[in-house]
């Protein structure tokens, strides 16, 4: 799979190499991170995505220097920074609850890092002004941080972390406290700031939609392991494992028989007896049986024909599209998402016989 051109051939900014983090000793020990290796390129918007407790925040805290790995190394531009305390790492963090200093003004918050670095005040003033302009907070510079809204606090936290011009910016679920509309706005803002500043962003979230819209590349984590790293498109359309496919978006799982492999694609025979082509996940070990996934929007419900057949169990109208829940003749559910048109309904009712037409390039064979 070719990388998007924007990140191809870039130098590595952060590398986590064989990271193990163990809490406790002996049989009761908990492995928060289990041999995790990630390379994050310069100027990249990189996202660590996973459910809570998957180890993504622990990894982020390790890069920031708040947590030490039990084994493994963290490299910044090829240099091991394991021994550096957080205040000596040219890496800044936007914290989940922003952690703005309540006893300081907006301006003082943004200036804090520069002051600690011992920059002359002739330099600090313009830099703080520049940062506040970047986040559209110039007018509230003298406000106390408990007198600003959540969205404004978010901007200040961002300006504060960007002011010292870090090599890498870490963002720990920074949008989770905002309401839906504000979150959408901030996603675009963040993306803009990343491209304007050219700083490497490492973003942690459990929201798959957020990850897909913002990231250059995503690492999907579960139970202390990295399952798949790739572009949003990779992750969504070519999931390597069941967990990845399930966690990101809605999907259909089908059991199929492997008929033949060659040139990165395979032919599989569905339970209905019909053969279809499928792409293969990296690291797939050939076997007789295979699990394949088909996204609901890559299949159509048809009155006659199709590769699969079944009975309509439920039809749910969503405005932009309609979800048709089907029970397959060979057993198991299948869901089809169909774009709505203005003039007519989807044409199916509960209890109808239905055929499923899977698009030619829609099926992907999972590695597990």
């Amino acid at each position: 799979m070719p990388e998007p051109a924007a990140v191809q051939g870039k130098r590595i900014a952060i590398e986590a190499r064989g990271i193990v983090k163990q809490f406790g000793q002996g049989p009761s020990a908990l492995r928060a991170l289990d041999n995790v290796s990630v390379s994050i390129r310069e100027n990249e918007f990189f996202t660590l995505l996973g459910p809570s407790g998957c180890g993504k925040t622990t990894l982020l805290r390790m890069i920031a220097g708040f947590e030490y790995p039990t084994e493994g190394a963290i490299l910044l531009h090829g240099e091991d920074i394991a021994g550096l305390p957080p205040f000596k790492r040219p890496i800044n963090t936007v914290f989940q609850s922003y952690a703005l200093f309540p006893h300081l003004s907006v301006w003082e918050n943004v200036a804090f890092g520069l002051q600690m670095l011992g920059r002359p005040s002739a330099e600090i003033g313009p830099r703080v002004a520049e940062m506040l302009k970047l986040v559209h907070m110039e007018e509230l510079a003298q406000r106390r941080t408990d007198q600003i809204s959540g969205g404004q606090a978010q901007r200040v936290a961002l300006a504060r972390a960007l002011a010292p011009a870090p090599k890498v910016l870490l963002l720990d679920e920074p949008l989770s406290a905002l309401d839906y509309k504000l979150r959408k706005e901030m996603q675009i803002e963040l993306k803009r700031m990343q491209s304007e500043t050219g700083i490497t962003f490492v973003f942690v979230t459990h929201d798959q939609e957020e990850a897909l819209t913002m990231s250059d590349r995503i690492a999907v984590m579960s139970k202390g392991k990295v399952l798949q790293i790739g572009s949003p498109w990779d992750i969504y359309d070519k999931p390597a494992e069941r967990f990845v496919a399930d966690f990101i978006g809605e999907t259909n799982f089908l059991t199929a028989e492997m008929v033949g492999i060659g040139g990165g694609t395979a032919r599989v025979r569905l339970r209905s007896g019909i053969e279809i082509p499928a792409t293969i996940a990296e690291g797939y070990t050939p076997g007789r049986e295979a699990t394949i996934v088909v996204r609901p929007e890559h299949a159509r419900a048809v009155k006659t024909g199709g590769q699969l057949a079944g009975k309509v169990e439920n039809v749910v109208y969503f405005g932009t599209d309609t979800h048709i829940y089907i029970v397959l003749d060979e057993g198991g559910p299948f869901m089809v998402r169909q774009q709505n048109s203005r003039s007519q309904s989807c044409g199916f009712e509960v209890g109808d016989r239905v055929g499923i037409d899977i698009a030619a390039d829609a099926a992907q064979v999972l590695r597990d």
Binding site: Y68, P69, T70, G72, A73, G83
Partner: protein, 306 residues
């Protein structure tokens, strides 16, 4: 790779060292001027009494022995130390009555405050807090002026025609009791208020909805829910009552001693330091037992409510 693990270990070691260094001054001061002396006193209780106070460094159980018994001066026979026992009994009895009386007054008061509108509640609490932080001696002295023979209580009763001669309250157990109830009342009201304030009044509505009368609601819903507050308040009143020294000294005169005064006596005119030390430890043990009762109770009710 050992380097990351090494860093983690060094960091852990540094944290432990700094934690002990930081707590050292407090620990040392508390040891020198509280815990150390208590240990010395424990040792003294097992020594022989000196002729003019102090102790001789020889092991003896006489101090502990005389907590309960006395040896006749002439024929060396043993008998129970009635004087000591009656003082211990007075201490316990007065403390229990004080606790009960403060509860009877304190619970309705705390309930009253907790049911005020939110903005006036703070004012009521403040009114309880002021006496709480007023010097104990001053409050004792104030009580003395109320219950003296010429004090306002007697004046009022005479004026009302209830009595003709002033009641002798000062220098009786009643005086000590009035003093302790007055002084320790805020200690009952404040924890009771703290738990009543958290009471969800929708539960009371639910009680009435399910046909409970006022008394049933109080007994079956409110009291069980604020039990932790009741226990906390009772302990907070009982413990200082048991160890009271200033109140019986000022209001009880020289005759109506409590444990605290008995202890002082041994280090003063009694010149029996081992006995004084043994009595002190006895008092401490009584207090610790009460504390233990409280801690166990708190743990139980804490667990019960999840």
């Amino acid at each position: 790779m050992a380097s990351a693990a090494d860093v983690a270990r060094q960091e852990e070691g540094r944290k432990i060292r700094s934690r002990w260094l930081l707590s050292a001054p407090a620990l040392v001061i508390v040891f020198i001027a509280a815990i150390g002396p208590l240990l010395v006193m424990l040792a003294y209780s097992f020594m022989t009494k000196g002729d003019y106070g102090d102790v001789k460094p020889a092991f003896s159980l006489d101090g502990w022995f005389s907590v309960l018994f006395q040896r006749d001066m002439f024929d060396d026979t043993l008998s129970l130390a009635d004087a000591h026992l009656s003082i211990v009994w007075r201490s316990v009895r007065l403390s229990v009555i004080t606790t009960f009386a403060t509860l009877v007054l304190g619970f309705p008061t705390a309930y009253f405050i907790a049911t005020r509108p939110r903005n006036t509640r703070e004012v009521w609490v403040f009114l309880v807090t002021i006496p709480f932080w007023t010097n104990l001696l001053i409050r004792t002295f104030a009580m003395q002026q109320v219950i003296r023979n010429e004090g306002i209580l007697n004046s009022l009763l005479i004026w009302l025609g209830i009595i003709r001669e002033p009641l002798q309250i000062m220098y009786t157990d009643w005086a000590i009791l009035f003093g302790m109830v007055y002084v320790y009342l805020p200690l009952m009201v404040l924890p009771l208020y703290a738990s009543l304030e958290k009471l969800d009044f929708r539960l009371i509505e639910a009680g009435y909805d399910l046909y409970a009368g006022r008394l049933a609601v109080l007994r079956r819903i409110i009291l069980p829910l604020v039990k932790p507050g009741i226990v906390a308040g009772s302990i907070l009143v009982f413990i200082p009552s048991l160890g009271a020294y200033v109140i019986p000294r000022v209001l009880g005169g020289g005759k109506n001693l409590m444990l605290g005064n008995l202890i002082e006596l041994q280090f003063g005119s009694g010149r029996n330091w081992p006995l004084g030390a043994a009595l002190s430890i006895t008092l401490m043990v009584l207090v610790m037992v009460a504390m233990l009762f409280y801690v166990r109770n708190a743990a139980r009710s804490g667990g019960g409510h999840g």
